[in-house]
Amino acid sequence: MDCFLSVVYCNGFRQWTTDNGQRSVDFITFLQLIISGLAMGAIYALVALGFVLIYNAVGIVNFAQGEFIMIPAFFGITALVTWYLPVPVAYSLVLAAMVVFGLVFELIAYYPLRNRPFLPVVISTIGASILLKNLAQNIWGAIPLRFPGLFETGTLNLGGLRIGLQHLLILGVTLILLILQYLLFEKTLLGKKMQATAQDKQTARLMGIPINKMIALTFIYSALLGGVAALLVAPILNVTKDMGGPIALKAFSSSIIGGFGSIPGAILGGLFVGVIEAIAGKYYSAYTDGVAFFVLIAVLLFRPQGIFGERIAEKA
């Protein structure tokens, strides 16, 4: 018992102690880690949702999902830094551009291959990813750029608990977005049609549902999620052509940890990875980026279907 936390609380909710009385972790720091982890996890969740929605709609993993964050981040820099547009106008413009981007991406990378097996489509998304990164380097250069955030340096002090305003913004916007998404998918006929298309395209067509429109809408929505994630996370990262890769990989891991194909799984998987990563980063900072994949391997070993996934059993 000497090494285990006994969760004995002392010093006015300021620290936890171990049985042997050693100070182990400052509770306030721990809470701050949780909140910053949840904020980063919210970004992973948004990107993971993009993965899952496209996978459910067309049965492929979009390997250009990382570029769905990188491109709007650069769009934002152009709008805010180059054109000096006011923040609301710039943000609206970025999101509008992502609507067009999502549609163009679908029309070029997916639509011509829609009747092919999944592999050519996956390769097409890999090709699109390489093209977009090269395009970004040609337009915006190879030097990392700074994205002017709304409150990247501001913090909120709650009795010693200091929370970054940007982190609060990320959590607040993600929560609102998830509520809106719930309303879209569960309360509108359009959302039901998108769900029906994801569940059974052939039957959806027999019902009169224009599935190509539904699939295009899914790509647009996924690009919009990337756009929102980019506007939220770019101020706390450097904007480079490769910025989307690590986020997308962790988001992909999150969606598998949650159960690939499951929307709640993508959200909770993202939050879980974000928190685990933040805690691990505090004590083993050299391994921060590896933690998500360590957790992924552990989940694949012990619960391959993920937290919310359904077990796929082979029939005898």
Binding site: Q195, Q199, L206, I211
Partner: protein
């Protein structure tokens, strides 16, 4: 109402339909009989636009439809209830019903919801499960839902593919009762069925298919007494027929 002429349909390089011609007149129940692999379901899929014929024509209410997409064909008045029910498993019974009216683009959500409620009245067995997810229903309930969802399109012609497949005998009777009832209310039906005896009992006319071709066409009453049909699909003994009827 429906004129199918010389259609040929392929799955890749395999020819599934080898020049099918058939007609369905308004108000009729017409059945397509045949063994597994004869091309019955392929015929329905070709009519509803899921498969495109390489040759031949399909006319519905005087208009060529063989080049149209399924989502357009349903708007013209043909609803296809596919084999295996194909209920959307993650959506509720009510949602499944509402989606059945997706082709009727002029209807508001409120109007569709109201019609879904009316449909639940017509299918009282579904009503207690209105807010349950599709996958939780039994096979019989799923079949009722599939037919009800097809009717939400307000079709002039309903294509039914194996509606009694896998159902308990008492449910088979109920499904055929519903088919007769739908027809009495004015909907024309093209029915694909393995249960030949029941299908011919409810149908006005029937076509018999073998390996992608129509080999026999007659009034249902004549087909019921046709020796060839009896041998191939109905069984010749009373015991065999009882088995078919369930």
């Amino acid at each position: 109402m429906l004129k199918v002429k010389d259609i040929e349909t392929y799955y890749g390089s395999i020819q599934a339909l080898k020049g099918i011609s058939l007609e369905v007149n308004e108000g009729e129940v017409v059945t397509l009989l045949g063994s597994n692999g004869a091309g019955k379901s392929t015929t329905l899929k070709t009519i509803s636009g899921l498969l495109r014929p390489v040759r031949g024509t399909i006319e519905f209410m005087g208009e060529r439809i063989d080049h149209l997409k399924p989502e357009v064909i349903v708007q013209k008045g043909i609803a296809h209830v596919p084999e295996g029910r194909k209920i959307f498993p993650g959506l509720t019974v009510r949602d499944n019903l509402m989606l059945g009216a997706s082709g009727r683009v002029k209807l508001s959500k409120a109007q569709i919801a109201e019609e879904a409620e009316q449909m639940l009245e017509l299918f009282p067995a579904l009503k207690p499960f209105a807010d349950k997810l599709g996958w939780t229903l039994s096979g019989g309930q799923q079949q009722m839902l599939a037919i009800a969802r097809g009717l939400m399109a307000r079709p002039k012609l309903l294509l039914l593919d194996e509606p009694s497949l896998g159902l308990a005998p008492v449910l088979v009777q109920e499904v055929f009762h519903i088919i007769r009832d739908i027809n009495t209310r004015g909907t024309t039906i093209l029915l694909v069925e393995q249960n030949a005896f029941m299908a011919l009992k409810v149908a006005h006319r029937g076509y018999v298919m073998e390996t992608g071709k129509i080999v026999l066409h007659d009034l249902a009453t004549n087909l019921l007494n046709n020796e060839q049909v009896k041998r191939a699909y109905l069984g010749t003994t009373k015991a065999a027929r009882r088995q078919v009827v369930g």
